[in-house]
């Protein structure tokens, strides 16, 4: 900490995009060694002066030079090599409130995958079973059916009392299930067989008519998500009555040279996939061809694309989370987020905020990131005692993560912006 710089007076001007928190647009002279907490009190004081509408104290985050202020202002400016002579514009926005730990759902085995919905949380476990929980933490159902660890689950649709979900497992099959909420009974509608090796990832399209699975046999299979299977499979191929109906893939996308670790729908016929062969591929499902390749230099464990900002975050076989822009043809990484100390296994964008995402790492940490703060995450959601294998933020209010300590932890994201 350089003492000389801490004494410098800075001219700052506060701007914001949230109109309800606007303060007078006049420069203020502040000490350069202030932290964001002191700026916070300053803004709150200014707000109190200017408008009586804001009663409660609001927590703000401050963006200086396009990056979130985490250290003292002087250090931040020094890092950015910005002169302290000029008037510095500080943008402030309401801080994403700290997620509060809500629940810890105990499983019998490692929780390998999880997806939350409005009221329900679906999780897959290494004990070959699926579990349905309510968001309140109530265990609704344990569903045996797979014969190997369940690696991917996904809700397909909710239709009144009937909920449909899909699951993929290392037993080389994906299953389509109907869960009758009222009766709390589940039924496997279709078993999708087409992969030669374990299914690693699964994604359902937005219109809930199709889903794709990525597998260790390097292929991506596209399946129909319809519940009636007569039109899909010839009757003679029906087999294994204990598993219900079997289904063949609509198409198989071959192109990865190694295991496919993550799939996601980008629009109704475009699929993003990440593989262990250091490639991100964007597929056109109708044509069955590759639209675009993005090459990394490490095996990808997961990739997630956000429609809000049209960028891809990836988790690789190292400590870094990388942000790619699929529109740029060369694989230039836009930002690298480094805070995890182990492999990052899973990344998920926020569905409501274009700058926030969640990551889960083998260091037992789930981290909430802001894209403008590449070195410091907003929050560390700690609690897991072992490798975190999956995380999910499908429900904007819930940050869910599953770990190899046999727990599924739920953090509640408080609503913000309502004040």
């Amino acid at each position: 900490m350089s003492a000389d710089i801490s004494e410098v007076q800075l001219q700052v001007r506060f701007i914001t995009k949230q109109e309800q928190y606007a303060v007078p647009d006049s420069p203020y002279a502040i000490q350069s060694n202030v932290q964001s907490s002191e700026l916070n009190t300053l803004i709150n004081a200014l707000l109190k002066e200017s408008s009586a509408a804001v009663e409660k104290a609001v927590e703000f985050d401050f963006l200086v030079c396009g990056e979130l202020l985490c250290t003292s202002l002087s250090e931040h400016l020094q890092e950015k090599a910005v002169s302290t002579e000029e008037t510095i514009e500080i943008e402030y926005l309401e801080r994403f409130p700290a997620p509060a730990p809500q629940d810890c759902l105990m499983h019998d085995d490692w929780v390998s995958t999880v997806q939350a919905h409005q009221n329900w949380i679906l999780s897959g476990s290494y004990d070959n079973s699926l579990h349905i929980w309510s968001t309140k933490g109530q265990h609704k159902l344990a569903i045996p059916g797979h014969t190997s660890p369940v690696k991917a689950v996904c809700w397909v649709s909710f239709n009144g009392d009937q909920a449909v979900f899909a699951s993929g497992s290392h037993d080389q099959s994906a299953m389509l299930w109907i869960w009758n909420v009222a009766r709390n009974s589940v039924d496997c509608v279709v078993t999708c067989r087409g992969h030669d090796k374990g299914v690693e990832c699964l994604a359902v399209s937005a219109d809930a008519t199709r889903f794709v699975t990525g597998s260790w046999d390097n292929n991506i299979c596209l399946w129909s998500a319809s519940l009636s299977d007569e039109d899909n499979v010839p009757s003679k191929k029906r087999s294994k009555p204990e598993h219900g109906n079997s289904r063949e893939p609509l198409s198989t996308l071959k192109g990865h040279r190694e295991a496919v670790s993550g799939v996601q729908w980008m629009d109704f016929n475009t699929v993003l996939s990440s593989g262990w062969d250091h490639l991100l591929k964007i597929w056109d499902c109708e044509l069955g061809g590759i639209k675009q390749d993005v090459a990394g230099n490490k095996a990808f464990f997961d990739a997630n694309w956000s429609p809000l900002n049209n960028s891809i975050i990836t988790a690789s076989a190292d400590r870094h989370i990388r942000l790619y822009d699929p529109r740029s043809t060369e694989s230039i990484v836009k930002t690298t987020f480094t805070s995890h100390t182990g492999w990052v296994q899973s990344v998920r964008w926020s569905t409501t905020r274009d700058t926030l995402f969640l990551s889960a790492g083998y260091d037992g940490q789930v981290k909430l990131w802001e894209t403008r703060s590449p070195r410091t995450p907003l929050y560390d959601l700690s609690g897991h005692e072992d490798k975190v294998l999956c995380c999910d933020w499908s429900n904007p209010a819930l940050l869910v993560s599953g770990s190899s300590d046999n727990t599924l932890r739920i953090f509640k994201a408080k609503h913000y912006g309502t004040a």
């Binding site: 290494y126 660890p149 190292d318 490798k387």
Partner: protein, 829 residues
Amino acid sequence: MPPFRIGLLKRKSDTKETKPKVSDSSQEESDDEKLISGQLDADGDDTDSEHEEEEASDHEQDEVLFDDSADSTLGEDEHVADASEESSDLEDSEEDDDDDEGTSKEEESGDESEKSSVDSGAESGPVHTQSGASDSETDKKSKKDKRQKVKVKKDRGQKTESSIDRLADTIKKTSVTQLKPVGQKDEYESGDTSDEEDRRNTVGDVPMWWYNEYPHVGYDLDGRRIIKPPQRDQIDEFLKKCEDPEFWRTVRDPSTGQDVILSKKDLKLIHRLREGHVPDPTHDEYQPWVEWFTREVLQTPLRAFPEHKRSFLPSRSEQKQVARIVHALKMGWTKTRKQLADERRKKREKNFYNLWGSTTEEEEQRLRGIHKHIPAPRRALPSHAESYNPPPEYLLDSKELKEWNKLSETPWKRKYTFLPTQYASLRQVPAYERFTRERFLRCLDLYLAPRAIKMRLTISPEDLVPKLPSPRDLQPFPTSESLVMRGHVGLVRSVDFDPAGQYVVSGGDDCTLRVWESSTGRCLRTVRLAESVSRVAWIPTAGLSLVAAAAGARLLLLNPGADVGAHRVAQRTDDLLEEPPPKHDVQVDERTSSAVEWQRVTPEEWARGVRLAISHFKPVTHVAWHARGDYLCATLREGASRAVVVHQVSRRRSQLPFSRAKGLVQCALFHPTRPLLFVATQRVVRVYDLVKQELVRKLLTGAQWISHMAVHPAGDNLLVASYDRKCIWFDLELSSKPYQTLRLHGGAVRAVAFHRRYPLFASAGDDDNIIVSHGMVYNDLLQNPLLVPLKQLRAGGRAEELCVLDVRWHPTQPWLLAAGADSTLRLYT
């Protein structure tokens, strides 16, 4: 012949002809060439009047005529000067006589003459014509006589008679000479030039001062003397200058001594010459310039015909000449102008010897024949103690003095070589008695002790280290520990990846064989075996799902099961191994059957996944698959000649490739592509050709005890680990001697492994480090492998002085798996 004579002659001839052009003459008279003519006129009148007075009008015309001719023959003849002189004389006298005579006509004529002489004489012509010709002529004649007489009286008192006579003589002469030729001319010389009639001085081009002593100046054509005209003295000159208005243009003809009055034309001519103009006044110096040859380039040539073909061809003779010159230049026969000039300049320069100037030190040493001169060491400067008045602390006190005296036997032990002494002034310092002696010794030192430069070895340790690329450029390679797989109890002896890299199999001292998921570290399956597992090896082909595990003396082939890997493959493997092949296919000799026995697996073993079991007569220490997945090479401990057994899985058959023991076999490996078998004994690696059944090579490792070895996936390089801390790289293409011996470990090296895709290899042993190195093998046979140690990875804990028992690379990713003695598997990425 003077012009007036010519004119006279012409006139004579003209008299017979018709009298032409009065107007002409008058016009010509109006020209400015009247000066001489005017006087000559008088002269001519003179002569004329003597003979033909009646033809006054005629001769007036003639005057004009011969005037013209007189122009061209200016100054040619003494007669002109003569006549003019006479005329001037006459005029002078005339003016003088003006008062005497007082006649109006005379005045007129005088005026006339004056006018004609001074003015342009425009009216002189007309005046002449107007005046009565005869009158004027007669007057003039008479006047002339008078005038001459007066003149003589006046001017030449002393010369008197003689000069008068002479004059009269000349007049007579002229008259006489004129008369005759006139007559002759009339008769037969009408068309002839009058030049021959000239009174010409015939002496030639001799200096005229020769005639200074004589009254004459030469001889005329007839040999008669040409008498000098009367000489004037200074007073005469002066008077003439004062009186004669024509004096300024009167010159003396040196050949005749006559005075000549220059005409206006002559003056003009002289003037032009003096000013440097062209003498001809009609010449136009500034004629308009006609550009016959213009510098402007015209579009079309002025010459209409095309250039001759010859003009486009280079001249052969010129070419020859140039070639000759160029050759001479190349051979150095000729020198350029600059070189020649330089040579000349050099020759002209004077050579000076630098007698007094100082030369550089090197130059001087060179001249003196000294090479590598080392200057004599400088003597130390005198210290305070050597001062004549040293500070008191340098002076020896009594105690020191005592010591000083004590050391008199051994003076070199003294503090000083001299005794510091204090003097009041420098004056009192006595002579130094050892001065000569010491100077002499110094000289001896310098002279007798040769000085030499001592060469020191200047090799820094950094220079001895070979230049290696930076590890940063050789990425990717594992840098940190990512996963720890826990589950084993006791030592983990061996690990292996499945061909896709999804699973890991490990076996250890806890008699279990475990299958792990490589990406999560999840233990998927545990198979409990009867004995501790010393070696596991996954079948390298993807079409089968088999793990070979050496448990004690038994070698088990297990199918890791339906959960691990592809169902279809597992099913196929089961199908293949369920039924043994027909017996007649397997023919085993006594020696083999005593060593190896293929056992049927019990149902409970089958349920655990064991598909085949081969029991040996000795414990199995090492197992290696052939790349095709059908053959399996097992190494038995203390097996002697039967230490290496090759099993064929498909036919359930075993072979003992060696009949004689070559030593204590440590491990045996198949070549990845060729039918070669590497057998490592305690110190030597032997390479056998399995087809020809012969020893191909013997690799001398130089190690005391080989522990393990690995073959490069390309097959041409072999890495051998030894218990004496060495890793030995063999380039089989290069030689049977080690290409490089890497001493990177602090303890015994127990495991080495090559990566299948990346140019990486790893070695691990009893020290706490796993060494990851870059081992690039080039396709180019001329380029030797490049080995760069990259990274030391911390291994897990130690147990019983063991640390890492096996290392294995992920088949596709640059990940390294190490089996630790602390019952963990660690994945480094």
